[in-house]
């Protein structure tokens, strides 16, 4: 294979700007899939891959076009996974920046563009959906020119749906995107840009050979942890699975090496040969770090082991999931889990409940606080209930983000109001064009944990798009707030709040709990406290009525059925002391007062 004829590229876009449709069209035009075979959004189809005997989604596909080899590499679309996006881009020399002609530049357009620049990619700007009646090519062109410094001639206009402009784009890829630079005579260095678990082959690694070559039977080493394996299988997808004996510098493919545990594989890691190892790892590898921590507990304590099995199975396919056992006085035995972000957390929760059928309680997600004690010892706290006593703390630091919020100018006011209410510090505002801005705020990460995105959407009638970067830790005046039910501290309801907001949040929280906890046989006081000081109190009134006044003509079966229904309802509750709490209560606390 002639390295000069290889083009490695990705399509980057804000969500729904037409990435999958464009990929489908490229597959069709390059003859990888005939029109008849083409199922809409081919690259996303798990089913097809099952038919071909590999059960996981391959996110790189090899295509032939006018004597060139195209490796089209797919990227995850969500901000939670931006590190993985960045590693996928690191396997490319170029990127197609796709912008919707009806929407213009959005937050993820910008974020993806900068990720592409960081990876020294050649970027081809494309305005898509030009067939739509409400498309505004001139305005979007202007945005691309002003924001990214493209020239008018560089911009390609397409309709991925009808196919218009896609052939021009393919020619431009050949013309503009450089061929890979590596040297096949050097020692092997291959970049891992994705991995997944296949029950028959073990871990399937997606890689790009940067230098040297890799062959079936080679003994390889992962440079981050020095784990060694024998290569059992190499291949690529087109999108059928094709086995090959070797992959050379510049090319992309997959590798199987009977790897049982996906945790051994780190996205961004460098593979080399055990016999003749390279001396330098490829740049850019960062171990993945969980941003958000939450307790996961089985609703039924007897399902603890099932829950552990479920988490272990999920981890096989998702190396970024972290978990360690923890105990809560209120909830019993469970796990503290680390996630890349809230979406990641939601996905895991869904999968535990759906795929494993275990009802779980998720405690409110927390960021990682850094705490300096008075004796200068430093701690990282990912569970609010573990926050040390106030008198022992010298300083608490919390993670901050910098936002990119894209909105039409008329919504600047509401956005600023929202960010100010979330303890935000205004940084600046970039004008994308006359009518749209990109607003930068500095916000504590904890403030965007729950409903920030929803509030953003509703404050802007859905026009805002949002992205963020972590910018490090800053000291904050934070305190631990505890919740007492019936006079007992419920550890799983503890939260870290800013001192200035503590009173309002405490009040809001006890109010919220009063609403969502059903009335019980006894009156239940709910209190919020900081240290030993009670800052808010509400009572859940005792239940007054739950009785079947009349039993008609001796229709007793019906009464029993009604009681059975009530019993089912109670089973879904968590008993804390003598108080029955709906499992959602532990997450609901985040919606309060922020």
């Amino acid at each position: 294979m002639n390295q000069d004829k290889i083009r490695n590229f990705a399509i980057i876009a804000h969500i729904d700007h037409g990435k999958s449709t464009l990929a489908d069209r490229i597959l069709e035009l390059t003859g990888a899939v005939s029109k008849r075979e083409l199922k809409s959004q081919m690259l996303d189809s798990m089913e097809l891959e099952q038919e071909r005997g590999i059960t996981i989604k391959m996110n790189a596909v090899k295509l032939n076009y006018k004597g060139y080899v195209f490796n089209l590499i797919d990227t995850p679309g969500h901000v939670d996974f931006s590190y993985e996006v960045s590693r996928s881009l690191a396997a490319c020399e170029g990127a197609i920046l796709l912008v919707d002609a009806t929407q213009g530049i959005e937050a993820q357009t910008l974020a993806n563009f900068y990720l592409a620049l960081e990876n020294d990619l050649e970027v081809i700007p494309v305005i898509n959906k030009i067939d739509l009646p409400n498309s505004d090519v001139d305005k979007v062109s202007e945005e691309l020119i002003n924001t990214f410094g493209f020239t008018k001639d560089e911009i390609i206009l397409t309709s991925a749906k009808t196919g218009v402009g896609v052939d021009t784009l393919l020619d431009r890829i050949i013309e503009k995107i450089p061929s890979p630079k590596g040297n096949k005579n050097e020692k092997l260095r291959a970049l891992i840009f994705d991995s997944a678990f296949d029950p028959y082959r073990g871990v399937v690694v997606q890689l790009k050979v940067v230098d040297g070559k890799i062959k079936t039977g080679d003994r390889i080493r992962f440079m981050s942890n020095n784990a060694t394996y024998d290569v059992v299988e190499l291949g690529y997808s087109n999108p059928k699975i094709n086995k090959v004996n070797e992959i050379e510098a510049g090319d992309v493919g997959y590798l199987c090496a009977s790897i049982k545990n996906i945790s051994d594989i780190k996205i961004g890691d460098t593979i080399t040969l055990e016999k003749e190892p390279a001396s330098e790892i490829l740049k850019g590898y960062v171990p993945m770090k969980s941003m958000v921590f939450s307790g996961i507990y089985p609703l039924e304590t007897s399902e603890y082991n099932d829950l552990r099995d479920a988490l272990e199975k999920l981890k096989i396919n998702d190396a970024s999931l972290e978990f360690i056992p923890e105990t809560s006085k209120a909830l019993g035995f469970g796990f503290r889990c680390g996630f890349l972000g809230l979406l990641h957390m939601d996905i895991i929760k869904e999968r535990i409940e759906r795929e494993f059928g275990i009802d779980i309680i998720l405690t409110a997600p927390s960021v990682v606080y850094k705490v300096t004690l008075t004796n200068n010892e430093e701690l990282e706290i990912d569970n609010p209930s573990n926050m040390p006593d106030k008198v022992k703390i010298k300083e608490i630091y919390e993670p901050y983000i910098k936002t990119s919020i894209f909105v039409p100018t008329e919504y600047v006011g509401p956005i600023m109001e929202l960010c100010e209410s979330k303890r935000g510090n205004f940084i600046n505002m970039d004008y994308i064009n006359k009518t749209r801005v990109n607003i930068h705020y500095e916000l504590p990460l904890s403030e965007i944990m729950y409903d920030f995105f929803d509030k953003l959407k509703s404050a802007t009638k859905g026009y805002a798009s949002f992205d963020y970067d972590l910018i490090g830790y800053k000291p904050s005046d934070l305190v631990k707030m505890e919740i007492l039910l019936n006079g007992e501290v419920v550890d799983a309801l503890s939260m870290i709040v800013h001192k200035d907001f503590a009173y309002d949040i405490g009040k809001g929280l006890v109010n919220k709990l009063r609403e969502i906890i059903p009335r019980q046989l006894f009156e239940v006081p709910i209190q919020a406290s900081i240290g030993s000081k009670i800052i808010a109190r509400e009572n859940i009134k005792s239940l007054r009525k739950n009785v079947l006044a009349k039993c008609y003509g001796g229709d007793i079966s019906r009464k029993k059925k009604l009681l059975e229904k009530q019993k089912e309802g109670k089973k879904k509750m968590k008993n804390i002391g003598s108080v029955e709490i709906p499992p959602d209560a532990f997450l609901e606390i985040l919606s309060v007062g922020k």
């Binding site: 046989l521 007054r544 739950n546 079966s557």
Partner: protein, 356 residues
């Protein structure tokens, strides 16, 4: 051995807004056919047991005319009764007339249950009932019967404690030995449900219940919704609460025979064609114990411990979480009876789910 019979007469001249019983508008041409089917159902199932109670409910049994009532009594006259029997028929207040009452009396009826529900015009309108001179009608009944029940419904839309207080005064003034007080339930498939009427606030509902208990001090509160002068407790109802077996005859009627609880289907056309379809629940020994709790705890006195222990050869105090509930002072024991303490009676479902 089965000692009770319930007979369902589903016909009504007027449908009340809250009623979700099995009922149909009165249709002259249906009555004879219905009674023929009923006669067959009784004859095919009744095993000549000597009965303690017969209860004819509805619907509106009193909507039948004299000839139809005669035909109904032809059926009940084949049922054997012991000498302490109770034989109740339900009357709509409008239907009360000497001839019908006399006919009932001649045919062994000794208890009349009357749906009065309220004296208040607005309430009656809300319930879809007509306003009549209750006192006059009750006095006619009293000429022939001394064992009478009247029903009262409360927790009505916009009803105040004062409204209820006034109603209660009038009920008490009637000097009737048995009063049933039902908190309105808005059931599915009723006019009220279709009108999207909401139940009243539960705190007010509870206040009303407390008011009733206070005002009816002259009566013995013997079951969640029932109040009686000494010796006038409804024997038919106690059959249910004591988890005893009973026949249920007629369309939509429920019964409990030979460890099977059944409900006849509500299809009156099938029934008139003598197609007697049922829904059936087989009651295991374990279920029987469950029922013992959920029914027995409706009674203020609760469950007779010795009787229970003898019947099931088990110590009731070791079953389910009885001990825990006693410790929490939710259950109590008095005169060798296990019962739900008064303050929790109105939330009894919360406690009964422990026995499901």
């Amino acid at each position: 051995m089965c000692k009770s019979v319930y007979i369902h007469i589903p016909f009504c001249k007027n449908i009340c807004s809250y009623c979700d019983f099995c009922k149909f508008y009165y249709k002259k041409e249906w009555i004879n056919k219905y009674l023929d089917s009923l006669k067959d159902e009784v004859e095919n199932n009744y095993k000549k047991e000597v009965l303690n109670t017969i209860y004819i409910g509805g619907g509106t049994p009193s909507s039948l005319d004299i000839d139809e009532l005669k035909k109904l009594f032809d059926i009940t006259n084949n049922l054997l009764l012991n000498d302490k029997y109770e034989f109740t028929i339900e009357f709509n207040i409008e239907d009360i007339e000497e001839e019908k009452l006399l006919l009932c009396k001649k045919n062994r009826v000794n208890r009349i249950s009357i749906g009065v529900e309220s004296f208040n015009k607005n309430n009656l309108e809300f319930l879809g009932r007509k306003y009549v001179d209750v006192k006059e009608k009750i006095n006619i009944v009293k000429k022939y019967f001394d064992n009478i029940n009247i029903d009262l419904i409360y927790a009505l839309k916009d009803q105040t404690l004062k409204d209820l207080d006034e109603d209660l005064d009038k009920f008490i003034e009637l000097d009737i030995p048995h009063i049933s007080c039902y908190s309105l339930i808005i059931e599915e498939h009723t006019k009220l449900h279709n009108m999207k009427i909401n139940p009243i606030d539960e705190d007010l509902d509870y206040e009303m219940y407390k008011l009733i208990n206070k005002k009816l001090k002259g009566y013995k509160h013997y079951e969640i919704s029932n109040y009686a002068k000494e010796g006038y407790e409804s024997k038919a109802n106690l059959t249910y609460w004591n988890n005893e077996e009973y026949y249920g005859f007629g369309v939509g009627a429920s019964g409990y025979i030979n460890d099977i609880r059944y409900s006849n289907k509500k299809n009156i056309i099938d029934y008139m064609n003598k197609i007697y379809n049922k829904d059936i629940e087989y009651v295991s020994l374990e279920d029987k114990v469950r029922y013992e709790f959920i029914l027995g705890f409706r009674k203020i006195d609760g469950i007779d411990i010795d009787l229970f222990n003898k019947k099931y050869k088990k110590d009731i105090l070791t079953l389910f979480n009885v001990k825990e509930l006693l410790d929490k002072k939710i259950l109590d024991i008095k005169n060798n009876h296990l019962f739900i303490k008064e303050e929790y009676l109105y939330m009894s479902n919360e406690i009964l789910v422990n026995f499901i």
